[in-house]
Each structure stands twice: as C-alpha cells, then as structure tokens.
Amino acid sequence: MSAQAAHIETATRASRIGVVAIALALAALAAAPFLTDGANLSLLAQIYAYLALATLWNLLAGFSGLVSVGQHAWVGLGGYGLFALTIFGGLHPFAAIPVAGAVAALAAVPVAGLLFRLRGSYFAIGSWVVAEVMRLAASQISALGGGSGTSLPVRVVASIAASRQEREFAVYWSALALVVAILALTIWLLRSRWGLSLRAIHNNELAAVSNGVEVARVRLFVYVLTAAGTAMIGALIFLQKLRISPDAAFSVNDWTAFVIFITVIGGVGRIEGPVVGVVVFFVLRQTLADLGTIYLMMLGLVAILVMLKAPQGVWGLVADKWGVEIVPLQRRVIYAKSAPGEPASARKEEPKP
C-alpha cells in the first residue's frame, strides 16, 4: 500500500450521536431534583450507585481478568470509613467520601499482594475471604455498634445541609457526580496506554509480557483504583441510608451478586454493558421484587442463561447485530481521500477482543 495521509480515530458515527444524547440526558438528570419527588430521587441515586459498582467490577473482571467475587469488602470498608471518619474524625461527610476512597486504596495494596498469589478462579474465592475478614473485624468494633451496627448521629446528618430537602438534593448530586466521574475515568483509562495494556493482557498474556507490558503493575493499578472507587460509592450508599451494620455493609448479595448479574446481563467487557444491565435490573426489581426469593432465583437463572447462550450480554447482541458502539474503545486508521480510487475507508487496527 502506498504511503498516504492517515490518522487514528476512535470515534464512530454512533459515538458522535451518542455524545450529544449523553449530554442531553445528563442535563435532564442534573435537573431531576426540581422535576420529581424524594422517593424517585433516592431510586435514581441507587441506580447511579449500582451503575458505578458494575462499571468498576467490569473494569476489574471484564477488562483486566481479575474476577473478584469480594467487591463487597470495599463497599463495606467505604461505608464504615465514612461512619468512622465523620463520628470520630469530625470530618464533613462529603470530605469523608474521598478520604474513605484513599483509605481503601491504601488497604488494597497489601490485600492485592496476598490475593495475587492466587491464580484465576482461586483469586475469586480469596477476594471473598478478604470481605469476610473485614465483616468479622467490623463486628468487633464496639464503638460502631459491633454486630448490630449504628446510625449516623444527628449532628453529622445536620452537617450535610440544614433541611431534609437540601440534604436529599446534595446526596443526589454527589451520587450523580461520582458516577459520571467514575464512568469518565474508566473510559479515559481504557482508551489510554493502560487500556491498551489491559487489552493486550486479556488477549494473550504471554505475548503482552514479551512486548514489555508490566502485567503485575497494570493489574495492581487497576485493583487499587477499583477498590478506591468502590469504597467511595460504598461511603455514599451508607450516607444515603444513614445506618450501617456489618451484615448490610458487607452483603455479598447486595454488593457483589447483583453487581455481577447487572454486568453479565448487560454485557461483560463493554462499557455500555453495565448501563444496559442496570436498566434491566431495576425494571425487573421494580416489577418483580415482591416475589422475594423467586425473584432472586429468576435473576440467577437469567444470569446463567445469558452466560451460556449469549455471553456477550444484551448490549453485545445489539452491538454485534447492528455494529453500533456508543463508547468505542478501539483505534481505527482513517485514510485521507488524497489517493485517487482509494475510498476513505476505515480499517480496524486491532480485532475485537
């Protein structure tokens, strides 16, 4: 092929339309406190929390091959971090959220040092052990109510904002801001050098190593980052609940099982997957949650069927059928039109994972 002008792009037609649509949707969601009531706001904030948790789990399991079934460790640590920092440290709740994230990041380094000794599937169960250790340790903290937990003191609640409505607004906006930040950071990360390294490791670890990718360092970075993000979401979840207990904070069902089901149903290893999954999950929950155990069994069954029949998830089916990508991650070489007879075609630089 003759030398010709070319440049590299990630954008597609769908992604350009997507950017406009996302901007409009964000504007509407930011204005939601003036458009709807407290119950809906609280539901939306829950949706944001699950979207953020699923996005982080997806980054870990779908993109980095670190299949953790112990992310509830970090949700719980973040929640307990918020309570400890505000009650004992006197921090403002909104200041305590990033500090709780930083504490989790610090704790994640030695935890990763231990867990990375376990390969593949055993890493998964090891991550669960860590969550169990944290749950048992939390129930030994008598100053935070031991096994039965505690409520956020009135003075801390009042320090968020003066009126109940203002508090609801403040918590809602911080949840929205946090999920947007986590999504933006994840997309940026996956499009950066780190993302290329992750994709290389995912496709062929040996080849990645021989091309100079520092696998251990990349994995540690992703693990610590997701722990911090997950803990910040955990802090926000329990700021909204105003009450914490070891069983609620370190709940494997709430913070790991549901998060995994959301990601699997939406599409593992795709940015759009958790967004689609969270919508499906909340539609099912709002309509079927009264069924209790039957609903949970159905959720488990749907996740198994998706994994067996359509492992690319709901979004994967849509994307593969119509070739749409709202958030494209792959780079494509675009040739300039200067060469006569050569169409300005886009050639994919790398195959899909």
Binding site: V69, L118, A124, I125
Partner: protein, 288 residues
C-alpha cells in the same frame, strides 16, 4: 488440659473441613473448575438428608445410602447439561454460572425449607464420649466424623492412583486433547468427576447437619472453609487438604478459646498468614 481439649476438638472438626475441601479439590484437579456453589451443595445435601430421615424414618447415617447416590446423580447431570458448556480458556463462564447456581440454591432452599435452623437428629451417639484423661474426652460423633474423613480421603487417593477411572481422571487432567485422542470422552469423565465430588459433598452435608444447626444461608462459609483447607494444604494433594482442614479447625478452636467472637476470624487469619509466607501451600503437588 483445657487448651489440649480445645485443640483436640479443633483437630476433629478439621476432618469435616477436609470433607468440604475434598470435593472442591477433586474437580479443580480434574478440570480446573472452581465451583462457587460447592458450599450450597453441601447444605442441599444436609436438607435432602433431613427430608430422607423424615420420610423414610431412617437415621442420618442410614440416609447416606440415599443421599450419596442422589447427589452423585445431581452432580453428573449438572456437569453434562450445564457446567461442561462453561469450560474453556475463559475464567468467567464457570465462575459466573456456579455463582448464579449458588444464588438459585440458597433461595430455592429458603423457599422450600424456610429460614428456620434445622438439625439432623442422630440419637444417643450425639452425646456419647470416650474419656481419655481428666478433663479430656473424645466425642464419639466427632471421632466418627474424623475417621470417615480420613477414610474418604484414603478412598479417593486409592481411586485416583489404582483404578481405571482414576487413570482417566489423571489423563484428562494432564492433557484433555490427548486423553480424547486415546478414546476418553472428556464430557463423560468430567461428569464422573463431578458425581464423585458431590458424593463426597453428600457425606460432608450429613455430618454438617448432625454436628450443628444449619439454614439455607450458611453455604458460602462452608465453601470458604473448604477453599482455605485446599490452599493451606497445597493444590492437588488430598492428604495436604486433610492437614489444611486440621490447621483451620485448630486455629478456629484456639481463636474461640481466646474470645468467642474470634473463632472465624482466627481461621481466616491463619489462612492469610500461610498464604503470605507459603503461597503454594504446605504440601503442594501440582502447579497451576
């Protein structure tokens, strides 16, 4: 003597943990599958034993005659129709499918048997004990459970190294495609391995149910105990797994002696400690 008593009881409980672990270790050895629903299958076996004792009027040990073949059948079916489809290079499908299965089992048991604590009644044997010395006595039931655990592990060891079925397991484990070339049907071999794993699970479930109360939510903790015993003992070594179970049992007993709230924590910390100083386990056999 108080301490010696605690440690001896810990060793005997370790036998039960080795039973939890043996089934887990077996399927990992044969097909590199980690079954997250393993603990819930142990609890399922306990509930099936409960139903059997109630309907047939047999004791818990008698119910083994029904439960062991039943669980083996469930294992073979599960492997052939569901889990075989998840095996491959990718880690996610087997993990997520067994995770989904775990949620289904827990909630299914909750739906059928409610959240009430249940127990298998074994009669007089439960309280019988053999006095060894002043302040130290061995319960007949824990002793029986330990002996059964040792017998199960010896049996599995013999099966692996002295029978055609064991040869098929080892061949498939070493190189699945060559095993197929020489006429083994991997799908069937994997089915048999899971059947054997759940047969061991059935024994574990019955002893779990006789020893203490159980309810639908306790499965994951049993999975974790079994997993810790496997890692402490070293992958692929069944006798190592027994040692791992004993270490875990003793650590928990010592923790409980210090403070009742530290029982489980002490076990987990012992596991993390061994992971830190000897990540390959105490007696490793295979590398993975």
């Amino acid at each position: 003597m108080d301490w010696l008593n605690s440690i001896v009881q810990g060793v005997l409980v370790g036998g039960l943990y080795a039973l939890f672990a043996a089934g887990l270790s077996l399927i990992f050895g044969v097909m590199r599958l980690v079954n997250i629903a393993h603990g819930d299958l142990i609890v399922l076996a306990a509930y099936l034993a409960l139903a059997t004792t109630q309907t047939l009027g047999v004791g818990p040990l008698g119910s083994l005659l029904v439960i062991v073949p039943l669980m083996a059948l469930i294992g073979y079916t599960l492997q052939r129709f569901v889990l075989n489809r998840t095996l491959g290079e990718d880690l996610l499908p087997p993990l997520l499918v067994t995770f989904g299965l775990s949620v289904i089992l827990q909630n299914g048991l909750l739906q059928v048997f409610t959240a009430d604590s249940r127990k298998l009644q074994a009669g007089l044997i439960e309280t019988a004990s053999i006095p060894i010395a002043e302040g130290l006595s061995l319960g007949v039931l824990p002793l029986l459970q330990f002996i059964v655990a040792v017998a199960v592990i010896a049996g599995l060891q013999a099966l692996f190294y002295n029978t055609p079925m064991g040869r098929a397991f080892r061949a498939t484990s070493d190189d699945p495609s060559t095993a197929q070339l020489v006429g083994l049907d991997n799908r069937h071999v994997f089915g048999l391995a899971m059947a054997l794993s759940l047969a061991v699970t059935a024994v574990a479930g019955v002893f779990l149910g006789v020893r203490a109360n159980f309810d639908p939510s306790i499965g994951p903790a049993r999975l974790i105990f079994g997993f810790e015993a496997v890692i402490i003992g070293g992958l692929g070594n069944l006798w190592g797994t027994l040692a791992g179970g004993i270490i875990l049992g003793v650590a928990q007993a010592v923790g409980a002696k210090l403070d009742p709230g530290w029982q489980l924590l002490a076990g987990h910390l012992a596991f993390l400690f061994i992971l830190a100083i000897r990540p390959q386990g105490l007696f490793p056999r295979v590398q993975d």
